[in-house]
Symmetry: C2
Amino acid sequence: MVPKQCETMNGYTVNPRDVYGTLDYNNIAKEFGVQSITPYTLKTLSKFTGEPHLFLRRNLVSFHRNLDLILSDYKARKGFFLVTGRGPSNHMHLGHLIPFIMSKWLQDKFNVNLYIQLSDDEKFLNTTKSIEEIRNYSKNNMADIAALDFDKDKTFIFSDTDYIKNLYPLSLKISKKIDMYKSRKSFGLDSCKNPATNFYPILQMTTPVIENCRSLNVVGLDQDPYYKVQNEIADSLGHKKVATILNKFLPSLSGTSGKMNASTPEGTIYLSDTKDQITKTVKKYLPNKIKCHKNDFRDPFNNMAFLMLYYILEENDNEIKTIQDQYVRNEINDSYINQLFLEKITKFLETHQSNKERMSEFVDSYTNSGNLAMKMRSKIHM
Amino acid sequence: MVPKQCETMNGYTVNPRDVYGTLDYNNIAKEFGVQSITPYTLKTLSKFTGEPHLFLRRNLVSFHRNLDLILSDYKARKGFFLVTGRGPSNHMHLGHLIPFIMSKWLQDKFNVNLYIQLSDDEKFLNTTKSIEEIRNYSKNNMADIAALDFDKDKTFIFSDTDYIKNLYPLSLKISKKIDMYKSRKSFGLDSCKNPATNFYPILQMTTPVIENCRSLNVVGLDQDPYYKVQNEIADSLGHKKVATILNKFLPSLSGTSGKMNASTPEGTIYLSDTKDQITKTVKKYLPNKIKCHKNDFRDPFNNMAFLMLYYILEENDNEIKTIQDQYVRNEINDSYINQLFLEKITKFLETHQSNKERMSEFVDSYTNSGNLAMKMRSKIHM
């Protein structure tokens, strides 16, 4: 859904359908009832994983729901499984990779099944694109996802229109417990008149309960309301309460508010961008003051190039600390930091694009021929 | 849905979800905006079919929407196709057969494709039965339907949970045009809080447009609102307006109001009833005054045994006229007419049950292996 231009009383709106405005993460977390990922959480997690992933160390993946239950289930050998997903309405951009990179790390560390759900129904319903266009994006997005090289026998990628027969009976059971009027606001559907748009959220609430063990849903903070509502009805269905691990949104290069958006290309870094395209985007959207004034107070977290380095591109904690300090002390100028960003992002995307090409032959493992995919294709969830 | 005990201002409620009260058919037809099947309609129809079917001659199938368009399409060799269906929440009773018998006759006369949709999702959502129970009823109901011996290469029987993957993309397109708030009242969903219950009507509105030619939907009058709403959006989707041919409801033996109901067994004749069971039902629910009083005014259409003979069991027009006249003149008593009914219904059900057994091996032709079924199984409707 293209963000509306109006803003709410808080100055922002965050729900599964819309993210816009100046986001106050702590306030959103409080509203949603999710927990912050604290140093203590990370310490507990690291007992199982070793050093926490960059996204966790740098506070990009910074909220959760029931992560403690996941870890105690894992410790008690009850197991868990991962769920993530994507609404395939466009080509993927840098921000879209966050939950997939996080999921890849979690799968590697815990050796668990991962389900990747593409809500192509949602995107057909909420855009003016044809089903055929959306399906082409699904196909292309799957190749981007496959580039991350998940476990081919423990990962199942599917789209809603493709897998609905298998999900439908269980989704009907869940739907019977949902009070549409109560949940519409949290799902961003207050004014929605379309019956299918009121129904597809149930499909997203079905995947987290297709295995008997607990699911950890690796998603953007905006998606949490589905799981909140799901947990309110879990007991009545004999389902385990689900867990979430939630990322903040990567802003676009053009500003810190809202999130990078594939349908509003200003300042968006697409995964398919060439070096030339990135250079143009950088030139167009990043400030480029050459002179620094010693007494300027500069917050690196207001500098988009720094933010990209911090959150994604500079994995070395010492390096990023050095850059941050130099920036604060006005020892490096915008031009320097833009150049650093340009080099790193170019390399990052070249690697991604080469992986995408190399790995595209494995898409079928995830969708059909891998062990988990084969098992899921033959299973009707009840 | 079990009928509610309250009644509306009109003394009745008729919508796809509920039928109860004392039905004023002409008023309902006016409200829905459907046409009566007049002697003129029958004369036009009979040019194509020869003598109209019993149900048409006796006014049991007595309303329509766009039947004239079907006939002119047929005349212009544009063709048409038939759609009917059933909500498989229980064993089938005598009243449930009406649209199937009508469809069989129409298929025989026009040699066209017939789609039979079992809304098992609806029945799971609207009853307390499990999905497994509903699926067992679907299976059993399919055998009752197969007993009518449709064209095995031109008939496709499917259930919603089984065929949803094929219907879903087209149903999403239809859903985008539906104003849920406007249609909820006509669908009987005013107070429905369940997202899937707001969605399944769209699946019933999808089958009537899966072929390029026009569909004739052979259903009970209560189902017409789906097609009314469908025709309001047809132009915007480039779809042909659909047609309906609508039957009144067979009342239960216990009274003339409402309709025979499988979930309230009083006075219901199940297709699986044995002679003993029918005898008991007749004894319990039909009046049995032995003496007639010459001056009593007796309306045969208030006598349930006569009604069953008239609508279904006595095909000979002269015979039924004779019985009717004798009844009005008090020349035959209840006992006589009950006995006649008992003999005819026993024979009818024995034939049905033997056909059901004999034909059950052909269910697979309708669901999977017949020409139309095979074609439909491999087709995703867009």
